[in-house]
């Protein structure tokens, strides 16, 4: 088998700089949101199968581990959304300088954190007692 170029392995990078971690985190949250998509579709199909099926599905969907998962998914959504917007800005050729990308990496984590906490707080208030 010819030695073809591979994507550089994680260990080759200096992970001390946050901008590299932020790229890795975008992938990690993306994978998490893909799992969230499966939960979303399970929820939709259980609704489509009628009231009885939905009540049965709720025993899983409203369980504590799943509620923790929803909080994690809201956090992952917040990060992936903000980091994705950063990628779209990069695609226009802006903000690519090292100093700019270091700054925007911190801006992303800050905005994502605020958005995540706001969404989780809203979810807790909206679903009190559910």
């Amino acid at each position: 088998m010819p030695q073809r170029p591979l994507s550089p392995h994680m260990t080759i990078y200096r992970m001390t700089r946050y901008s590299l971690l932020s790229s890795f985190a975008n992938r990690a949250t993306g994978i998490g949101l893909s799992l969230g998509l499966i939960v979303l579709v399970y929820w939709l199909t259980s609704l489509a199968r009628g009231a009885h099926a939905y009540v049965r599905a709720q025993s899983i969907l409203a369980s504590l581990p799943l509620k923790v998962l929803y909080a994690l998914l809201l956090a992952a959504f917040s990060y992936h959304l903000i980091a994705g917007i950063r990628h779209l800005v990069w695609d226009t050729g802006r903000g690519m300088e090292r100093s700019q990308s270091q700054k925007s990496a911190w801006l992303v984590i800050g905005c994502a954190l605020v958005l995540a906490l706001a969404l989780i707080a809203c979810a807790l208030r909206a679903r009190e007692g559910v």
Binding site: S7, V41, A48, F77
Partner: protein, 127 residues
């Protein structure tokens, strides 16, 4: 071996023969998902409860059903492209790579079809 590429290959189609299509579709679906996801999260938080009757009457709305189908299809497409890149990067064994890529495609198509069908079934009043 000629060092000069045929014209078709320098037109940006690359080794995969599909050019920047993967990259481009990932961006287009990302842009579409920004408003769709914000809409879903806000809508779900605004609903008074998540019981069967409330949800079914919410999803019976033409716009709600349309946006939900769009969201399921766009998210499945975007997820499929993203997971594909991760598998291509980190599954180094050739056999496993092929198997995992095909499996990921199948799962994403199942998710897209099942999700859309479920929304339409509720919207048309079957459950």
């Amino acid at each position: 071996m000629s060092l000069r590429s045929p014209l078709a290959r320098v037109r940006g189609l690359g080794a995969a023969g599909s050019g920047v299509q993967h990259w481009w579709v990932q961006r287009v679906t990302a842009i579409a998902l920004v408003p769709l996801c914000i809409w879903l999260v806000v809508s779900l938080l605004a609903l008074p409860s998540l019981d069967f009757v409330t949800l079914v009457s919410w999803m019976a709305g033409t716009w709600t059903a349309s946006l939900l189908v769009l969201l399921v299809l766009t998210a499945s497409w975007h997820s499929s492209l993203g997971i594909q890149v991760v598998l291509e990067d980190y599954v180094h064994d050739h056999g496993m790579k092929a198997v995992s890529l095909v499996l990921s495609s199948f799962i994403h198509v199942v998710i897209a079809v099942a999700g859309s069908f479920a929304v339409l079934r509720i919207a048309f009043g079957s459950p």
